[in-house]
Subunit: 83 residues, 2 copies
């Protein structure tokens, strides 16, 4: 059993309106010293397989094909054993 933990985030140069809105809410609620807020996705995919190499290849393909928009987003992932 392998689990992929995938982070999909906007590229640094891409504006993040959701993050900006969140930052403004935080400031309205009295939080100070916030420089920037960025919103991203966190996806966990659990595989019924122990073949690290094969799973890694699949995850990389999935990230490119369905989980991220390569024009504006970047992704990273790590594989962990177990549930």
């Amino acid at each position: 059993m392998l689990t992929a933990e995938i982070h999909v985030t906007l590229k640094d140069l891409v504006l993040d309106p959701q993050g900006t809105t969140l930052k403004r809410s935080m400031e309205t609620m009295g939080y100070q010293n916030i420089e920037e807020v960025r919103m991203g996705k966190f996806i966990q995919v659990r595989f019924d397989s122990d073949d690290r190499k094969e799973v890694e290849k699949k995850v990389d393909e999935m990230c490119r094909q369905i989980l991220s928009n390569p024009v504006i987003e970047q992704y990273s992932y790590s594989l962990t054993e177990g549930e």
Copy 2:
């Protein structure tokens, strides 16, 4: 400068329709051996402060008040130095 990396995920017992849809898409595209897909949020908050204790307290409050719905979601975070 401290950055908080926050993960907000659905509690284990809560159904995740977005994850289920993603799993189905992956299967339609020919990916096998997928047991489960869970979708969550990944939020990065950059603080203009080096006071770990104070920032930690703020992040914990934010998670409870704005970033997660404690009824169905759980959160975790880590603080890293620098950008």
